[in-house]
C-alpha cells in the first residue's frame, strides 16, 4: 500500500497495517505519541485495532518533556 506519513509518501509491502504494526515497521520508539489518520485522532487504546489502508494520510507526532 501507498500512504502519506508525516507529509512524505511511503510504500509498504503489506496491503494494510495496524497502527502498532506501522510504528514497528518504521522503528518509531518514542513513547509519547499523537497519531492522526486522515485528520482524525487515533487514541492509544486503538493502536492494535485501527487499520491503516492504501491512500491514508498518517501523522505521527512525538513529544519529549522540557519547557
Amino acid at each position: 500500500m501507498n500512504i502519506t506519513l508525516n507529509n512524505r509518501p511511503e510504500t509498504f509491502n503489506q496491503a494494510e497495517l495496524t497502527i502498532n504494526e506501522l510504528l514497528k515497521e518504521k522503528n518509531f520508539s518514542f513513547k509519547m505519541l499523537v497519531i492522526k489518520v486522515n485528520g482524525v485522532l487515533v487514541k492509544k487504546d486503538k493502536y492494535d485495532s485501527y487499520i491503516v489502508k492504501d491512500g491514508d494520510d498518517v501523522t505521527v507526532l512525538h513529544l519529549v518533556s522540557g519547557g
Binding site: 507529509n7 509519547m32 501523522t59 507526532l61 513529544l63 519529549v64 522540557g66 519547557g67
Partner: protein
C-alpha cells in the same frame, strides 16, 4: 511590512499560552514586544529560584504566582498588550472554553504527557485551530538541530529529541530559542496573507 503595519495588524489578534515556564514566559514576552493585542496565559505554578535559569522572571518574584509575575513583566514592557491570566491547571475539560476564541494556541508545558493532552484535545474539539508546540530543547549546543515542522495546522518547534533529565537540564539558550521560534511561528501564521 513596516513595524507600524505589523503592530497595527497584530493588535487585532489573541494568542493563548498554555504554561508560563521557560517556553511560555519567553514566548509571551516576545509576542508582547512585537505588539500582539491580547494574550491569554494559563499556569498554576509559582516562581521558584530554580526557574530563574531560563524563565522570564526576577529574583524578587520568587514565591508569587507565575501568571501574576508574567503579567506584571509584560505590562512593564508593553502596556498595550492586554494580558488575561488564569491561575489554573489546564485539562481536557477546561482547555476548550479558555482557548476557543484564540487565533493561535502556543503549547508551553514541560511534561510530554501534558503536551499530548493539549494536542489531542485540540484535534478532537478545535481541529482547525493553529497549534504551536515546543518539543525537544534540553541541554546546550547543537543550535542547528532546532527546527519547525508543519503538519497541517500543527507546528512543532524544537529538535524533537532532546528530553529533559537530571543530566540534560533545560537551559536559557535552547529553551529561549524554541520559545522565540514559537513566537516567530505565531507571527508567520497571523501575518500570512493568502
Amino acid at each position: 511590512m513596516t513595524f507600524e503595519e505589523i503592530k497595527s495588524e497584530l493588535k487585532n489578534y489573541t494568542v493563548g499560552i498554555a504554561g508560563a515556564g521557560g517556553l511560555g514566559s519567553n514566548c509571551a514576552v516576545a509576542l508582547a514586544r512585537t505588539g500582539i493585542g491580547r494574550l491569554i496565559i494559563c499556569d498554576f505554578d509559582i516562581v521558584t529560584e530554580t526557574n530563574l535559569n531560563r524563565q522570564y522572571y526576577f529574583k524578587n518574584q520568587v514565591g508569587i504566582k507565575k501568571v501574576t509575575a508574567l503579567k506584571e513583566n509584560i505590562q512593564k514592557i508593553n502596556p498595550g498588550t492586554e494580558v488575561i491570566i488564569n491561575d489554573i491547571k489546564l485539562n481536557e475539560s477546561n482547555l476548550v472554553s479558555i482557548f476557543k476564541n484564540c487565533d493561535v494556541i502556543v503549547e508551553a508545558f514541560d511534561l510530554a504527557e501534558m503536551k499530548k493532552m493539549l494536542i489531542e484535545t485540540c484535534i478532537e474539539h478545535m481541529p482547525n485551530k493553529p497549534l504551536v508546540i515546543g518539543s525537544g530543547m534540553a541541554g546546550f549546543g547543537n543550535s542547528n538541530s532546532i527546527k519547525t515542522i508543519k503538519n497541517g495546522n500543527i507546528y512543532i518547534c524544537g529538535d524533537e529529541m532532546s528530553e529533559v533529565s537530571e543530566d540534560n537540564p533545560p537551559l536559557a539558550p535552547r529553551v529561549g530559542m524554541v520559545a522565540n521560534m514559537q513566537a516567530n511561528t505565531v507571527l508567520e501564521i497571523l501575518l500570512k496573507h493568502e
